[in-house]
C-alpha cells in the first residue's frame, strides 16, 4: 500500500478551498474509495453524492484533475503516478457543499418534455434493429457530466434557454421510439434551444456510457428541425398541400 495526496474541495456557497488529505492507496482503488476513506478516517462530514458504486446510477460525478468523471469509475492507477489528485465539484451547477452540487435544474428541464405518448395504432411489435438506437439513448444514467461540460451551460450559463445534451438525448429517444406518436420538433427548435449547440462534442467525450450524443442524437435532431422549418422545398410542398 502506498500513500497518495488528495486535494479535495471543501466549502459551501459562501466560499471554500482545497484541503489536502493523505490516502492509503490499495490496488485497484477508485477515487470514490479514496473519498470514502477520507470520510471514514479524517473528515466525517465530507459531503459527496454516491449510490451504486458501479457506474450505473450516475450520482458521483465530479471533476478529477480538472476532468469531469464518475468517481466510482476513475481508478487511481489511471491517474499520473506520484502526482496530487485534485477532486472538485461539477462547476456548472450551484454548489451545496464540498462535492455536492444542486442539479435540480435538470429535473425541471425533464418536466418540460412531453412524455412518451403511444401512437393510436401502436402494435407493440418492434424489431431489434428498430430499437437499437433508442436503447443506446436509454442507457443514459443521468450523471449530468454532459450538462456540466457543455459550454452553452458552463461558459454562457444559458440554462433558461437551453435543455442541454442530456435532454436532447432524452427527446431523441422519444422521437425515434417506433411507437411514439408525438411531435417534439417545435419544442426542440424553440424552448429546448437545440440551435445553440454548435457540435463541439464535449458532451460525447465525457459520457461514461459512451452514448454518441452528438452524432446519434443531436445532429439527427438538428437535421429534422432544419428539414421541417428551414428547407424551402419542404416549406413550399406543405404550402401547396395545405392549400388543397
Amino acid at each position: 500500500m502506498s500513500s497518495r495526496v488528495f486535494k479535495v474541495w471543501r466549502g459551501d456557497k459562501s466560499g471554500g478551498r482545497f484541503v489536502d488529505y493523505q490516502v492509503q492507496a490499495e490496488e485497484g482503488m477508485v477515487v470514490l474509495d479514496a473519498i470514502h476513506q477520507i470520510q471514514r478516517t479524517q473528515a466525517p462530514d465530507l459531503a459527496c453524492r454516491w449510490n451504486c458504486k458501479a457506474a450505473k446510477c450516475g450520482s458521483c460525478g465530479a471533476e478529477v484533475n480538472g476532468k469531469p468523471r464518475l468517481m466510482c469509475k476513475t481508478r487511481l492507477d489511471a491517474l499520473p503516478p506520484g502526482e496530487v489528485v485534485s477532486v472538485r465539484p461539477m462547476r456548472s451547477f450551484p454548489l451545496i457543499r464540498d462535492l455536492v452540487t444542486d442539479v435540480s435544474w435538470n429535473f425541471q428541464v425533464n418536466q418540460k418534455i412531453p412524455p412518451f405518448t403511444p401512437r393510436p395504432d401502436a402494435t407493440w411489435i418492434m424489431q431489434q434493429e428498430d430499437v437499437d438506437r433508442v436503447q443506446e439513448f436509454r442507457k443514459c444514467i443521468e450523471c449530468f457530466l454532459c450538462q456540466n461540460v457543455c459550454h452553452v451551460v458552463r461558459e454562457h450559463d444559458l440554462k433558461q434557454h437551453f435543455f442541454g445534451p442530456r435532454f436532447f438525448v432524452r427527446i431523441a429517444s422519444l422521437q425515434m421510439h417506433p411507437m411514439d406518436g408525438l411531435d417534439r420538433m417545435a419544442l426542440l427548435k424553440d424552448q429546448a434551444g437545440l440551435g445553440l449547440c454548435n457540435v463541439t462534442k464535449c458532451c460525447t467525450e465525457v459520457c461514461p456510457e459512451e452514448i454518441h450524443i452528438t452524432d446519434n442524437a443531436i445532429i439527427p435532431m438538428k437535421e429534422r428541425v432544419v428539414d421541417r422549418y428551414y428547407d424551402p422545398l419542404a416549406w413550399l410542398w406543405r404550402k401547396i398541400r395545405n392549400a388543397r
Binding site: 466525517p44 454516491w50 451504486c52 450520482s59 407493440w124
Partner: protein, 580 residues
C-alpha cells in the same frame, strides 16, 4: 390542516410514499392515478435508487419464447425456490399479474430487447423452468426506474428528493405522517398523511460484503417495526453467488446472474465445473442459495481462485454476443478489474444482496398490521419465502407497488383527517439534534464497520448457535455504543457522518431481527444454513417466523405459512416432480 405555527416545514397529502425505487414509484403512480394527493419521498436524487442495480431482468410468464410457460409454472417455481415458505397468495398474485405489469411498462415507453418476431425478449435464469425474464441487456433495472420516473413526474406526484424519513408519526393506533430531514440543508420537515407506503428497499449495509448502496440501511423495516408492525422471514438473507472479489474497492459489486443465464460456467481452481456436485440437474442455473453455498464451500476447501472466489467464464459465447447481451459487465470488469470477459474468466464470490424478510403485509392490498401503513417491494416479506429467484424482484416491485398504491389510496379516501401530535414531532427533532455536541462521541463509521464485520462473520452464509449467540451479545454492545454516536463537525448541511448516526439505529434493528430469527430457526432451508441443524425440519417447513416489538423487547414467534387451498394441487404436483 397544516399547522402554520409549527416551526418545521409542513406538507399535507393523502398518501406519502417513502422510497423511490421501482416499488415506491409504481405505488406513487397508482395512488396518484386513483386521485390521491401523493408525495414521493426519497433519500437520493430521483432515479438513483438501488433498482438501477437490478440487471438481469423481470420475471413474467409472457410465454414469448416458451409457449408452455404460464402463471401456474411461475408460481410453482417461486414456491420451489422459496422452499415453500412463501405467502402463497402473494406468490399467486405475483405470477398472475407480472405479465400485465411488464406490458404496461412497455406502453409507458420502456424498450425491452426483442424476439425475432418483434415481441419482448425473455432469457433463462436460475430456478425458472422456462425462459422468462424480460430484459434490456444487463440494465433492466435502469429501464424500469427511468420509465416509471418519467411516467410519475408527468402525473402530478410531489417529489421530495434527498429527504430522509426518521420516524413515522401516529395518531392513536393509526399512522398519520412522518418526520424527516432534508439532506441538502439539514432542516426538518413534517409530512401529514392519511396513509403511508413504505418502499425503502433492503438492508444490505448491515453486512461487510454487499452489492447494496449506502441507502440500503433497512429504514422501512425499522420504521415499521417501531410503529408496531410485524416483520417476517428476517432470517433469510440472500447472498448473491456472484459478486466481484477483486480489486478490494469493488468487493461485493454485483455480477449479474444474466452471465449464467447467457451460458456462463463456474469452475474452481482445478478447472472443475463444480456445480455438477451440488445440483447436477440445474448446474449454474440452480437457485441462488445453492450456488452461493457451493462457491463458499469450494473456497473454504481450498479450491478457490487467487482472490478468494471462483471462476465464472462466459468467453465461449464470443465477444460480439457478450458485448451485446452483457455490455455493462464487459465494461465493469474491463475498467475496474482489468479483466476482458470476452477472453478470460471473471473471479466471483458471494455478496449480501437481498433480504427475503420484511414487513408482513396483506397480499392483496399491501396493508401492514398498523392502520394506514402499507408497504411494497424488498422491505416487505412473503412473496419470496426462504430464497428469491433472480428476476422475481423487479416483478415484485411493480406487482405489489401497484397493489400497495391502490390499497393506500383506497384507505386514504375513507379515512378521517389525522391529527399530528406535536410531542412526537419534537421527540423526533430532539433525536436528530442529539448527535451534535456529544463529548467523547462514538465514531459512527467505526461502529458501522464493527456491525458489518459481526454480521458478515457470525450471521453469514453458514450459521450456528454459538456464533448467533455471540452476535446477539455484540449487538447489545453496539446498541450501547449507538446511544453515544455523535458528529464531530457541527455542520447540518449534507453531513454524511450525521446521517450515518441515525441510519445505524435502523441497521441495528434489522441486524437484531436477522440474528434472533436465525437463532430460532433450528433447521437449514433456502438462504438460511445452520451448521448445527443441516437438515429440513417439518415444523419449520410449515411456519414463518414473525418479529415484533413487545414493549421495547424484540419478540420472535412462529406463524403458520399462508396457504391458498385451491393451489394445493399445484404445489403437491411440483413437490412430487422434485422428488423424482
Amino acid at each position: 390542516m397544516t399547522d402554520t405555527s409549527s416551526k418545521y416545514e409542513m406538507h399535507e397529502h393523502d398518501v406519502i410514499v417513502i422510497g423511490a425505487g421501482g416499488a415506491g414509484l409504481r405505488a406513487a403512480i397508482e395512488c396518484s392515478a386513483q386521485g390521491a394527493k401523493t408525495a414521493l419521498i426519497c433519500k437520493s436524487l430521483l432515479g438513483k435508487a438501488h433498482t438501477v442495480m437490478a440487471e438481469g431482468g423481470i420475471a413474467a410468464a409472457l410465454a414469448h419464447l416458451d409457449e408452455q410457460d404460464n402463471w401456474q409454472t411461475h408460481f410453482q417455481d417461486t414456491l420451489f425456490g422459496g422452499k415453500y415458505l412463501n405467502n402463497w397468495r402473494m406468490a399467486q398474485l405475483h405470477a398472475q399479474e407480472a405479465p400485465e405489469r411488464v406490458r404496461e411498462l412497455e406502453r409507458w415507453g420502456a424498450v425491452f430487447d426483442r424476439t425475432p418476431e418483434g415481441k419482448i425478449m425473455q432469457r433463462a435464469f436460475g430456478g425458472h423452468t422456462w425462459r422468462r425474464l424480460a430484459h434490456v441487456g444487463d440494465r433492466t433495472g435502469l429501464e424500469l426506474i427511468r420509465t416509471l420516473q418519467d411516467k410519475g413526474v408527468h402525473q402530478g406526484i410531489d417529489v421530495f428528493m434527498e429527504c430522509t424519513i426518521t420516524r413515522l408519526l401516529k395518531d392513536g393506533p393509526r399512522v398519520c405522517g412522518a418526520f424527516g430531514y432534508w439532506r441538502q440543508t439539514g432542516r426538518f420537515v413534517v409530512f401529514q398523511a392519511k396513509a403511508v407506503v413504505l418502499a425503502t428497499g433492503g438492508i444490505g449495509k448491515c453486512f461487510k460484503i454487499t452489492s447494496n448502496s449506502w441507502e440500503s440501511t433497512g429504514d422501512g423495516h425499522a420504521l415499521a417495526y417501531q410503529a408496531g408492525a410485524q416483520l417476517v422471514d428476517m432470517e433469510f438473507m440472500q447472498f448473491h453467488p456472484t459478486g466481484m472479489v477483486w480489486p478490494p474497492g469493488v468487493m461485493g459489486l454485483l455480477v449479474t446472474e444474466a452471465v449464467r443465464g447467457e451460458g456462463g460456467i463456474l469452475r474452481n481452481n482445478q478447472g472443475q465445473r463444480f456445480m455438477e456436485k451440488y445440483d447436477p440437474k440445474r448446474m449454474e442455473l440452480s437457485t441462488r442459495d445453492v450456488v452461493a453455498r457451493a462457491i463458499y464451500t469450494e473456497v473454504k476447501e481450498g479450491r478457490g481462485s487467487p482472490h478468494g472466489g471462483c471462476f465464472l467464464d462466459i468467453s465461449h459465447r464470443g465477444a460480439e454476443t457478450i458485448k451485446r447481451k452483457l455490455p455493462s459487465m464487459y465494461h465493469q470488469f474491463k475498467e475496474l478489474a482489468d479483466v476482458d470477459i470476452t477472453k478470460e474468466p471473471m473471479e466471483v464470490g458471494p455478496t449480501a444482496h437481498y433480504t427475503m424478510g420484511g414487513i408482513k403485509v396483506d397480499a392483496d392490498t399491501g396493508a401492514s398490521g398498523v392502520p394506514g401503513l402499507y408497504a411494497a417491494g424488498e422491505c416487505t416479506g412473503g412473496v419470496n419465502g426462504a430464497n428469491r429467484l433472480g428476476g422475481n424482484s423487479l416483478s415484485d416491485l411493480i406487482v405489489f407497488g401497484q397493489r400497495a398504491g391502490a390499497g393506500a389510496a383506497a384507505y386514504a379516501s375513507q379515512a378521517a383527517a389525522p391529527r399530528l401530535d406535536q410531542e412526537q414531532v419534537e421527540a423526533a427533532a430532539r433525536e436528530m439534534t442529539s448527535y451534535f455536541g456529544r463529548p467523547n462521541a462514538e465514531d459512527p463509521y467505526r461502529l458501522h464497520l464493527d456491525l458489518q464485520n459481526t454480521m458478515q462473520n457470525l450471521v453469514g452464509i453458514f450459521r450456528e448457535e454459538k456464533d448467533l449467540t455471540t452476535a446477539l451479545a455484540r449487538l447489545e454492545e453496539f446498541k450501547q455504543r449507538a446511544a453515544k454516536v455523535g458528529v464531530v463537525e457541527g455542520q447540518r448541511i449534507y453531513n454524511p457522518g450525521w446521517h450515518l448516526c441515525r441510519d445505524l439505529s435502523n441497521m441495528l434493528i434489522c441486524a437484531e431481527a436477522i440474528t434472533r430469527a436465525a437463532r430460532w430457526r433450528k433447521e437449514s432451508r433456502g438462504a438460511h444454513s445452520r451448521l448445527d441443524f443441516p437438515q429440513y425440519d417439518d415444523y419449520f417447513g410449515e411456519h414463518n417466523l414473525v418479529v415484533q416489538n413487545d414493549g421495547g423487547v424484540m419478540k420472535v414467534e412462529p406463524c403458520p405459512v399462508v396457504k391458498v387451498p385451491e393451489l394445493i394441487p399445484l404445489v403437491e404436483q411440483r413437490k412430487a416432480r422434485e422428488k423424482k
